[in-house]
Symmetry: C2
Subunit: 229 residues, 2 copies
DNA sequence: ACAAACAGAAGTGCATACAGTTTGCGCATT
DNA sequence: AATGCGCAAACTGTATGCACTTCTGTTTGT
């Protein structure tokens, strides 16, 4: 639980200490090691990562801009814990954004991108058969990444990735639900077919409902978990 | 040109020095006082705002996370100057986001919100007749804000506002083009009608093409302006 | 017994200090 | 004249220090 994250500290000045901290801390948040509501003490983090408070503060500021933490004035930073309403709005936004990506992917993906998407999707069926939730989660991330990059719009990609990161702390258990793996694969199948058919509208719909379902599942799970203050 | 922005420095510790800096600097960028490519020297900004470098650095870090500024390691921060491709992707994203907002607004706005939107729109006709570009720009911002809030989705609102801020440095002259005011009003009219009719699809289309047109106009203007390095 | 008050500890906000990196300029060399 | 070198100035990255705020546990008054 308290595994020490080793930030490589070169002797040379690479100038990316803060970036490393941002990654390290956001990993702690996204992975769930730091749950929503957890306090982030500057001194403690500084000690943990063997740096001074200055870069830690900058990292927290950046994480705050990304929406992963909140920084009430004169008080400790806290892992963002959003209201149910805002969580719903994030899931809805995610569905809208993925729908856009799916539509644009259907219209714009290169032949190679289409091939690779289909291959990736076909190969993932083995994971479903094996019931390997962990592996499927990794594949799922990659699958959606393909959708984002296939839209050929760098800003939308950036936006959807940021939204996903912000949502991550609240959707951790999405593949625990019985039968969710197979359903997820079926939904992916619909998206892939629509994209291969260059049917933007169908891809958009399929992606929207796929993400909405994930949202519903995560929301029920999130509300069943105690969100400590 | 070198008007000093006065950040009010109370004797009490409000703890929002950095927030004020972020606002002040982003205003300088959005208003065009600091153009894309301009260097942001930490010491200079610190002197200008009568603070030390520490809060300036944190503000720059946050502006960087917002995409308004870039921070190459060991070098001065600069106002973000994006490639033409990325600029196009931002305008396209903006159109997609506004289309979503318009659709959701058509579906979800309260009676009061609809009334106020229509009233605001009707009143703006006087501004168009007067040809007051400055006033129309302010009204236009408010009009679009209504669209964003009418969608009743806090996260989408946040996202679209952030995208607009990022786009601002590149769309400054949008109402200089001859006849653009009247065209803009006509396009708004289409959006308002669709929203009042609760016709989400029509509202979405109207908003998409409205924003796309603005994008085209701004892009031609931006490419005609020298983007200095 | 409970609540208000207080003192010490802990933590944040900002300024300053210093080390390392980049940059610009003068000078020597070709 | 153009190019490469080296040094100094300017600037960034990080650590540290101090003032102020918040938190916490205890004491005091009712």
């Amino acid at each position: 639980m308290d595994k020490v994250i080793d930030i490589v500290r070169e002797l040379v000045r690479t100038g990316d200490t803060v970036e490393q901290l941002v990654r390290a801390i956001s990993d702690l948040i996204i992975s769930g090691d730091l749950q929503p509501g957890a306090k982030l003490d500057e001194g403690g983090l500084a000690g943990r990562f063997q740096v001074s408070r200055t870069p830690v503060r900058e990292a927290l500021r950046q994480l705050c801009a990304m929406g992963l933490v909140e920084r009430p004035p004169n008080r400790s930073a806290v892992v963002t814990n959003v209201s149910g309403d805002f969580l719903s709005s994030m899931f809805e936004a995610m569905a809208e954004l993925e729908a856009i990506c799916a539509r644009l992917s259907a219209e714009r993906m290169t032949a190679q991108e289409r091939e690779e998407l289909e291959r990736l999707h076909r190969e993932s069926f083995d994971i479903v058969k094996a019931g390997a939730s962990e592996d499927y989660a990794a594949f799922n991330t990659e699958f959606h990444n393909r959708l984002y990059s296939g839209a050929h719009n760098a800003h939308i990609q950036e936006t959807v990735l940021q939204t996903r990161a912000r949502l991550a702390p609240f959707r951790r258990a999405q593949f625990r639900l019985e039968g969710r793996l197979q359903h997820s694969w079926d939904e992916h199948d619909g998206i892939v077919r629509a994209i291969l058919n260059r049917d933007g509208a169908a891809a958009s719909c399929a992606a929207y409902s796929h993400v909405s379902i994930v949202g519903d599942a995560s929301r029920t799970f999130a509300s069943s978990t105690a969100t400590r203050t």
